[in-house]
Amino acid sequence: MRLNVTVNGEPREVDGVWEGESLLSALREHLDLPGSKNACEQGECGSCSVYLDGALVCACLVLAGQAEGREVVTVEGIADGEELHEIQRTFVEAGAVQCGFCTPGLIVASHDLLRRNPRPTDPEIREALAGNLCRCTGYEKILDAVRLAAERLS
């Protein structure tokens, strides 16, 4: 089938998307946006987190056709061209990136948190990131990165 979707501000049209395909697969396999990661395909890990019409969702649980005519923002759309977003910079600075597989999802989820709540408490950060798994960092440095970004952004 054909899919029309605005991704990172740009209207896109792709053919050959299978009707049962997820938005995650459409992004990675048809729209050349491999930033969102595929780790579990069952909503458990959050590595595929994107915005769909402004709401944080797991792209693996959205049927591609459900995104027809809608707006998607992926991790590729968080940076301003080559210029990293503050949240991306603090992840690097705080050492919150090890293998990096979870990072795209955590960047989008942290972005969503700070947009809604610019000065989150620690429990609020933990709650907001509860749907994102990281197998490497032990989360402490991720919390550091989000705290630092909150401080710098507000």
């Binding site: 069952q42 797991c58 693996c60 649980l61 049927l63 509860a130 749907g131």
Partner: protein, 288 residues
């Protein structure tokens, strides 16, 4: 696979009549897992996310009528004050990403005994509104969920909404799991006080083929409150009454052993949850 995308409720019902085999998809948080893992390959899917009627809620004869497509996130934000029990349960569902997509309509459609939205609906004697091109029927939620992942939904029908009274007193929900987020309940309990009717309702989740109302426990505690005239002169609950209430809830459960926990652990945990939620709710009632 065909994807049907109705833009109105009428159109959705007509498509369901024409394609009874089409699998409805709302937030997709249950359906897509099965599609991704090749467990589900329907000939057609009926995407309900473009039907505006399903995401509306309104007041109707003193009750709230909530569209099947209202997400957990919106339930918490818009109806948290009026449906505190369901809102607490909603906050325990998955993660922000899951709550932004998942709906109570989908929780009902799946009909899992572990669905966290269901015990609060049972405890409030909610009704489910089902519709087809042939008409609409409204049935009690306890008749809608007929077994583990089995419901009374007919092939040509869709879930339109659920109806429940706004809280008339404190409500609670508690859930056991291995962490605070992203867990399927090992067991859960929803509890509500209805001071004007002098009733306490309690429903067990994830410890039986369907959610189970603990009717004996409800009758017992109503009796104690009546006998001691506690509704009128709210005093602390006698500890022995809370304990007995817990035992009766424990006894009403029909759990099995599975990967998440043993039956005997579930019995025990439900007794504890019952005692705690009753005490919390009663203290909230007492202290206004």
């Amino acid at each position: 696979m065909q994807i049907l995308q109705p833009g109105t409720w009428r159109e959705a019902l007509e498509m369901k009549t024409a394609h009874p085999e089409a699998v409805p998809i709302a937030g997709g948080t249950d359906v897509m897992v099965d599609v991704n893992f090749d467990r589900l390959r329907p000939a057609a899917m009926l995407d309900l996310t473009r039907v505006p009627e399903l995401t509306a809620w309104e007041r109707e004869d003193g009750r709230l009528r909530i569209g099947a497509g209202v997400t957990y996130t919106r339930l918490i934000a818009d109806l948290g004050d009026e449906l505190p029990g369901l809102a607490i349960a909603s906050r325990t569902v998955g993660s922000p990403q899951i709550r932004n997509r998942g709906t109570v309509g989908g929780n009902l459609g799946t009909g899992s005994p572990a669905g966290d939205g269901l015990p609060p609906l049972f405890a409030s004697d909610a009704d489910v509104e089902l519709a087809s091109t042939a008409g609409t029927r409204v049935i009690p939620v306890a008749e809608f969920v007929t077994g583990p992942k089995r419901t009374a939904l007919r092939e040509d029908e869709l879930i339109a909404a659920f109806l429940m009274p706004p809280a008339a007193g404190p409500q609670q929900f508690a859930k056991i799991g291995t962490r605070n987020a992203m867990v399927i309940a090992v067991c859960s309990l929803a509890l509500a006080l209805w001071p004007e009717e002098r009733r306490v309702t309690a429903c067990i989740g994830s410890a039986g083929p369907t959610p189970i109302r603990a009717t004996e426990a409800e009758a017992f505690i109503a009796g104690v409150l009546e006998e001691r005239d506690l509704w009128l002169a709210p005093d602390s609950l006698p500890e022995s009454a809370a304990r007995r209430f817990g035992e009766l809830v424990e006894g009403a459960a029909r759990p099995i052993d599975d990967v998440r926990g043993t039956a005997s652990y579930r019995h025990h945990a439900l007794g504890v949850l019952a005692r705690r939620t009753l005490t919390w709710a009663w203290e909230a009632h007492r202290c206004g």
